[in-house]
Symmetry: C2
Subunit: 296 residues, 2 copies
C-alpha cells in the first residue's frame, strides 16, 4: 500500500504546475531542468499515471495533475509555516509573522501600523499577503488575518475591532462635471464604479439601494478595492469606499451620507497554536491597537 513517495517529488510537481514548464520550475526551485524532469517522470512512474502532456512550449497538466494541485499547494503552505514557526522559538520577541488581509486594508491602512511595529520591534519580520480567501488561516497561508466577518472555526482566536463604515464617494472634478446626486435613486443615472463578481459583500450593499444592482449597473468594474479607490480619485465616477480612508483625501466628497451607510464588522484572527509565539502575540496585539485607532 505505502508507495513511499518522496516529498521532494511533490515539491517539484508543484513547481511545474505553478511555472508551467520544467525549465521555469527549475529556475524557481533553484534546481535544473533535467532534475525536475526526472522528478516528474519518477512521480508519474510511482503513481502510474500521466501528469503532464509534454509540449514544446512547456508541460500541460492533465486532469490528474489538476487534482493534485490543491493538496500540493497545501503542503507548500505548511512547509512555509514551519519555517516561520521555528524562526520565532525562544522567549524573546522575534521571528517572521505573516499577515493577510484585503487589498485596501493592506495598502491603505496597514503600512503605518507595520512601520510602527517594525520600529518598536526590530526583530520581528513582517510579511503581508493580500487576499480575500477565507481559508488562509486554516491552510497556514498566514499567521494572522484581518477579515470583515467573525471567523467560525473554533481553533481561531478572534478579536473584534469594530465597524468600518462604507459610503459613496466621488472626486470634486467628477461632481462639477456630472452633478451631485441628491437621492439614492439618482445614482442609477451616474457612472458607478463597482465589482466584477457579485460577492456577498456587494449583495448586502445592493439590498440598501432602491434600484436593482446588476453587473451592468457598474460602468467601471474591478474586484480590487484599491483600484476602485484609484478610479474614484481619478474622477472616473461614484464608488464605494471606506469612510475613514476616503476622508483623508480632501477632494473626495461623501455622497448621500444620510441615506446610505454600510458597516463592515472587522475582526483580527489568529490560530490558537500561535499564542505561544511572542512574536505573533505581539503583532496581534499591535494590529488590534492600531486598527482600533482607525475604526470609529
Amino acid at each position: 500500500m505505502n508507495k513511499d513517495i518522496g516529498w521532494e517529488l511533490y515539491r517539484s510537481f508543484l513547481g511545474v504546475m505553478q511555472e508551467g514548464s520544467l525549465s521555469a520550475a527549475a529556475r524557481a526551485l533553484g534546481s535544473t531542468q533535467p532534475t525536475i524532469g526526472r522528478h516528474i517522470a519518477e512521480l508519474e512512474r510511482v503513481l502510474n499515471i500521466t501528469l503532464f502532456i509534454r509540449t514544446q512550449g512547456g508541460l500541460t497538466p492533465t486532469d490528474a495533475a489538476n487534482a493534485l494541485l490543491l493538496p500540493a499547494s497545501e503542503m507548500a503552505n505548511i512547509a512555509a509555516a514551519m519555517e516561520r514557526v521555528t524562526s520565532r522559538h525562544g522567549d524573546d520577541i522575534q521571528g517572521t509573522v505573516r499577515v493577510t488581509t484585503s487589498d485596501v486594508i493592506g495598502i491603505e491602512i496597514l503600512p503605518t501600523i507595520f512601520a510602527d511595529i517594525a520600529e518598536r520591534f526590530p526583530n520581528i519580520h513582517l510579511e503581508l499577503a493580500l487576499s480575500d480567501k477565507v481559508q488562509d488561516l486554516l491552510s497556514r497561508e498566514a499567521d494572522i488575518a484581518i477579515r470583515m466577518f467573525r471567523p467560525k472555526q473554533t481553533q481561531l482566536i478572534a478579536r473584534r475591532i469594530g465597524n468600518i463604515g462604507v459610503g459613496f464617494f466621488a472626486h470634486t472634478c467628477y461632481l462639477t462635471k456630472h452633478g451631485t446626486p441628491s437621492t439614492l435613486a439618482d445614482l442609477e443615472a451616474h457612472r458607478l464604479i463597482g465589482f466584477d463578481r457579485l460577492t456577498d459583500y456587494i449583495r448586502s450593499v445592493a439590498k440598501k439601494l432602491p434600484f436593482p444592482l446588476e453587473k451592468d449597473s457598474f460602468v467601471l468594474r474591478t474586484d480590487s478595492n484599491v483600484a476602485q479607490l484609484a478610479l474614484i480619485r481619478a474622477g472616473a465616477g461614484i464608488g464605494l469606499c471606506q469612510i475613514g480612508l476616503a476622508e483623508r483625501d480632501k477632494s473626495l466628497v461623501r455622497l448621500l451620507a444620510e441615506d446610505f451607510c454600510f458597516e463592515m464588522d472587522t475582526w483580527v484572527t489568529m490560530h490558537e497554536d500561535l499564542r505561544k509565539s511572542p512574536a505573533c502575540k505581539t503583532v496581534f496585539r499591535e494590529l488590534v491597537a492600531g486598527l482600533q485607532g482607525y475604526v470609529y
Copy 2:
C-alpha cells in the same frame, strides 16, 4: 527569506517524532539510521535550532520540535491523500477510499457494509480509521467520515442518516445478581460503566439523569465504546449502548426504556472535491444506504 528546505527532511523529522529514535524512524521509513541522522542534523542546521536532545535511548524532542509536529503530520496526511487521489483517476469505479468513524460504528456496524461494498465493487480498496477527531476530513486524514453531528464546514457534503438511539443495557447475569433498577434514581446505586473524560456527549446524557454525573459515578471507566460494550456483555455493570447494537445480543436487557432515551444525529460527510471520484461517490452512497438500514 526562502530557505529552500527539502521536504524530505520534514518526512524524516516526522518519522523520528513518531518513532522516537533515529533507528526506529529509519526502519519505518525504509531508510537507514545514518541517513535519518543526517537529515535531522541538516534540518537543525538550516532552521538554526535544536530539534532533539540526543540520548542513549533515542532522541527527545525539544519545544521547537513539538511545535513542528502538528504541521508535519498535516503534510503527511496530505501526501497520503495525494496517493489516494491518483489511484482513483479514470472513469471506472476503482481506487482507495479511506473512511473514519468512531470505534463502535467501525467495529460493530461497518464491517458488514464494507464486506458488501467489497463484494460488489472489487476494485475499490477500503481503509478504515477509528477516531473521534473532528478535523479528520479537512486535514485529509480520511475521505469520508461518519459522525454524530452535522458538520459545519461548507466545503463538506453531508447526508443525514437519522437518529441512532442510545439506552441503558445490562447483561442478564448482572441483573440476577444485583437486581433490576426500576427508576433512573436507582441507577446511582448500581455499577455504572462510563467514560474516562467528560465529553459533550456524556454531558448531554448527564442532563437527563436525576442525579449529578461525575467521573466517580462510574465504577468502570473507558473512552472506548467498544470496550464499554464488552464490559456490559461481560456482566460488569450497567452501561450505555446503541439500541440497535445491543439488541443483537439476546442476553442484553434494555433498562428504563420508558424513562431514558437519547438520540444521536448521524451524518455521513465527504469533501466536496471528491464528488468527481467515482470510487468515493460509490462508497458514500453505499454507506448512506447501509447505515439507513441500521438506523430506525
